[in-house]
Each structure stands twice: as structure tokens, then as C-alpha cells.
């Protein structure tokens, strides 16, 4: 059985234009630009093992250096 991706709730989309006006308005928007379309999630991408390791390494490094900056900032206040 294929799992159906969870779709976030759509915003309240009360129709705000009558039919002829809607036809004209549709002409100026690309189909995937409509709010209804942008609320459909894009399919997930598969990251390679190396990419995941690299991202986690960078993430941990950034957090460690951030903690150093915050510690230094607080220490220098005293």
C-alpha cells in the first residue's frame, strides 16, 4: 500500500470573484502559482549518505561555534 503524503490544511478559499472575472484573472497566473497548488507539498528528495553526514557535520560545527560566540558575549558582559 502506498503511503499518502500528509497534506497541510488548505487556507479558507472563499470565492471572491465572479466567473467572467475569474477567467480573466486566471490568465495572469501560472497554474502552479495558485494558492491551491502551492499548498501541495513537493515530493521529498533523497539525500545521499555523504551529503547527510556532511550536513550534520556542518550543523554541529555551526552550533558549537554559536555557543562559543554566545558564551564569549555573556562572559564579556561581566
Amino acid at each position: 500500500m502506498t503511503a499518502v503524503p500528509e497534506t497541510p490544511p488548505l487556507p479558507d478559499r472563499t470565492p471572491v470573484a465572479d466567473v467572467p472575472e475569474q477567467e480573466e484573472l486566471f490568465m495572469h497566473l501560472e497554474h502552479d502559482q495558485l494558492v491551491a497548488q502551492t499548498f501541495r507539498p513537493v515530493p521529498p528528495a533523497l539525500l545521499g549518505r555523504r551529503a547527510v553526514i556532511g550536513l550534520w557535520a556542518l550543523r554541529i560545527f555551526a552550533v558549537l561555534v554559536s555557543l562559543m560566540v554566545i558564551y564569549t558575549f555573556i562572559a564579556r558582559l561581566h
Binding site: P11, P15, V16, A45, T72
Partner: protein, 453 residues
């Protein structure tokens, strides 16, 4: 209304338009008309906005204080040629954000979250919220410093910032918000006026572009100013903001060329005004005992003492403008990120009733920052400089995802990065990462007395 009702429109089974679609479509109809009638300047006028706002928004209070501190501490050399280089780096990053936003019609936060997983999406949003909150505090600080020159207190700074946020949100349209903030952002040119008023030696300004060697003095102070100057040009909020704003504006792949002009124009203006702040600050060289000398009384007061009251007044007004514009753009980037990550409506074209999270985040983050600056005795200059440093340290992770998204052929199709853009992008990530880490590690080791200062 059921989902079936929404999709069973008489118009070729297309979904009904929401008020956000209608507002965006009306903006797009003007773009179509201008393009159809080949009105080039009008088309440019309609399509500029996110790029200029991201760049001039980043010429914010802490950035202008950082530039002026660079000038006051080291003079014109070294940092003057660095500013255009940093804005060239910012252009490369922001162009990618604009392109991804125009092609996918989605913001950075939602794309990272949906494409690479919730962990990375929420990490990005967390970084953004942390750096945005600290930066917003620094923006209120900048307004406070500017107003202090006119003998006005922190309460006025708080009121001014919050009234501006509420006023710009009251329009209910992206277009109105963008044009209001653009109008305010042009006053960033006051820093250029300040530079002209200090009557710099033009030969010395031109000579500074010949790249003087690294200035002497404390390595840690130099690293602090270097990291905060980088943080003054490329930051996480700019990434979130320009991609989301490009999508909210309704830009499409046809508009990518104009998006590039917009981003390039923003970079040129921001670099020019940034150099203006540095040149004005350089008039304080040999008149202070280090950057901390300008805290409290503020740079405008020091400029008034050294270069005359007019320079102090213009610089103070510039700081108020820089802080105000950044409060608006940074609050907006927080609101976009909150709406995108939670998966609810996130557009200036939506009403507050339909995009409650978006509007609440926009006002809420500004409100929290405003409350913090009312705390007496806060170390103002230190907060301003460290806000930029923290943004620099956290930036490489966001940059990696920008590069990944811009190379995602499934999303971008033929609009993926060229090899040269990737090479420059990687160089930017390495440069930003090394500079941020160098300051963070060096200051930490000094603080715990593992190395001498």
C-alpha cells in the same frame, strides 16, 4: 466548503481563486500589460522590490554601526574594497534565492522542509528566529541611538518601530507593503550624504581600493569587525525574505532577468551607502580609544563633535531609517518562515483573518525585541556587533541549502545553477564559514584564557 466543491469549478475544473490569488493576479496583469506593450522602464518599476529591499534592509542599524566602527578603528583602507566584494557575494546568494522563488513559487522554509525533511526545515527556521530576534533587538538599539541624538528616549524608539510595523501591515496587499518599505529604504542614502558632509579626501577614498594589507592592532577586534561586516552583507533572514517575497510578489521564470537587475541594483546601492557610512566613520579615526568608545553616546554624537552637527544629525537620521526598514523586512522574513514551516497561509495578499499566524509572527517578533531594549543598561554596541557575528556563524548551513535547491533539477528544470555560479557559491560558503569560526574560536579561547589576547 468541501475539497470537491473547491475543485469542481465551472472553469475547466480549476480551483476557485482565493483573495490572495486575486490580489496577485491583479499585480501580474500590470506586468503582462507592460511586457505586452514593451514598456521596459514600467516593467522594471513593477518587478523591482525584493532584491532592493533585501540588500537595503541588510544595510541595517548594526551593519551601519559596524561599517562606521570599521572606519573609526582602521580608517579607509582594507574595509572599503571589502564592502563591494561582500555585496558581490550577497548578489550571488540572493540571485539564487530570487530564481528559486520565481521558478517554484515557494519560500525557502517550505522547500527545505518538504524536500529535505522536517529536521532541516525546523533547524533553518530555528536559526532564523534566533538571529532575527537578536538582530531586531539591535535594530531597536540603532533607532534608540539615533533618537538619543535628538534627546528622545527608548520609549519613543519602541513606539516608532511598532507603529511602523502595524502601519505597513494594514494595507492588506503585498504591493502596498513593498512600495511603502521601498520608499523608506531609499533614505538609506543619508549615509552617503553623511560621507559627503565629512569632506573626505577623494584621493584617499580612491586609493583605499588598491587593497591595503590587513590592518594591525588586536587580532580579535579585527576578526570581530570582519565577521560582523560579513554578517552585515549576507544573512539568513535575507535568504528567507527574498525567496518568499519573490514568490509572494508573483514572480515567474519570465521575470528572472528583471529579478537579477533588482538584486544587482540593490547590491550597488547598499555597497555605496555602506561605504558612505564607513567614510563618515573614518573621520573619527584618531578621535576615539577603540570601538567601545562609541557605545552609549553613540557614533552620531561623536561625529557631531568631530565633523559638525550636520553630519551627526544626518547619521542619526540614517540610523533611525536603517533600523526602521530592517525591522519591517526582518519581521516579514520571520512571518514568512513561521507560515511556511507551520503550513498555513503566509502572504501579505491574505487578510489577517486568513493568515493569522503570518501577521501574529510579524508583529510578535517585533514586540518581543522592543520589550528587550527597554531594559536599562543593555550593552548596545556589543549587541549590535554580536548580532551580525551570530548571523555569520549560522549562515553556512543555510547557504548549503540555497545551493542545493538552486541545483535541484527536479524543482528548477532548466533554471538550475551554472557551474560558475556553483563555484562562486562554494567559495562564499567556505569564506563565510572560516571568518565566522575564526572569530568564534579565537574569542572563546581568549575568554577561557587558553590563549593570550
Amino acid at each position: 466548503m468541501s475539497t470537491q466543491d473547491l475543485t469542481a469549478s465551472p472553469l475547466l475544473r480549476q480551483p476557485l481563486l482565493s483573495d490572495e490569488d486575486v490580489a496577485r493576479s491583479r499585480d501580474r496583469s500590470r506586468v503582462h500589460l507592460a511586457r505586452h506593450h514593451d514598456r521596459r522602464w514600467h516593467l522594471l518599476w513593477l518587478l523591482v522590490g525584493p532584491g532592493i529591499l533585501a540588500m537595503l534592509g541588510e544595510n541595517d542599524g548594526p551593519s551601519m554601526i559596524a561599517y562606521a566602527s570599521d572606519g573609526a578603528q582602521y580608517g579607509l583602507g582594507f574595509f572599503i574594497p571589502l564592502i563591494p566584494i561582500l555585496f558581490a557575494m550577497a548578489f550571488v546568494v540572493q540571485e539564487m534565492c530570487m530564481r528559486v522563488g520565481a521558478v517554484t513559487h515557494r519560500g525557502y522554509g517550505e522547500l527545505v522542509l518538504q524536500r529535505y525533511g522536517r529536521v532541516w526545515g525546523w533547524f533553518g527556521a530555528g536559526d532564523l528566529c534566533l538571529t532575527n530576534l537578536i538582530t531586531l533587538i539591535a535594530e531597536f538599539v540603532a533607532i534608540r541611538v539615533g533618537l538619543a541624538y535628538f534627546h528622545l528616549g527608548a520609549g519613543v524608539a519602541v513606539a516608532l518601530g511598532l507603529i511602523l510595523v502595524l502601519f505597513t501591515l494594514s494595507g492588506g496587499r503585498y504591493w502596498r507593503w513593498e512600495r511603502t518599505v521601498l520608499g523608506l529604504a531609499l533614505f538609506n542614502g543619508l549615509f552617503l550624504v553623511a560621507a559627503i558632509l565629512v569632506k573626505p579626501h577623494l584621493g584617499a577614498v580612491a586609493g583605499a581600493f588598491s587593497f591595503t594589507p590587513l590592518p594591525g592592532g588586536s587580532l580579535n577586534t579585527l576578526l570581530l569587525l570582519l565577521a560582523s561586516t560579513i554578517g552585515a552583507t549576507v544573512t539568513p533572514w535575507m535568504i528567507f525574505f527574498q525567496q518568499s517575497a519573490s514568490a509572494d510578489k508573483g514572480m515567474t521564470p519570465k521575470d528572472v532577468a528583471h529579478g537579477r537587475y533588482d538584486t544587482a541594483l540593490g547590491a550597488v546601492l547598499a555597497a555605496t551607502f555602506g561605504i558612505g557610512a564607513l567614510v563618515a566613520g573614518a573621520s573619527l579615526l584618531h578621535h576615539g580609544s577603540g570601538i567601545e568608545a562609541f557605545a552609549g553616546a553613540g557614533i552620531p554624537a561623536a561625529l557631531a563633535r568631530v565633523s559638525g552637527g550636520a553630519v551627526g544629525t544626518v547619521f542619526a537620521l540614517g540610523l533611525i531609517e536603517a533600523g526602521a526598514v530592517a525591522i519591517l523586512t526582518i519581521s516579514a522574513s520571520t512571518a514568512y518562515a513561521a507560515g511556511e514551516c507551520i503550513g498555513v497561509s503566509h502572504s501579505f495578499n491574505s487578510s489577517p483573518r486568513k493568515a493569522a499566524v503570518f501577521y501574529a509572527a510579524n508583529i510578535g517578533v517585533a514586540l518581543i525585541a522592543a520589550v528587550v531594549i527597554l531594559i536599562p543598561g543593555a550593552p548596545l554596541l556589543s549587541i549590535a556587533l554580536n548580532a551580525n557575528v551570530l548571523a555569520t556563524v549560522l549562515l553556512p548551513v543555510s547557504l548549503v541549502f540555497v545551493l542545493t535547491l538552486a541545483n535541484d533539477r527536479a524543482l528548477m528544470g532548466r533554471w538550475v545553477n551554472r557551474r560558475s555560479t556553483n563555484l562562486i557559491g562554494i567559495a562564499v560558503i567556505v569564506f563565510v564559514g572560516v571568518c565566522g569560526a575564526a572569530y568564534g574560536i579565537d574569542s572563546f579561547l581568549q575568554t577561557v584564557h587558553l590563549i593570550g589576547s
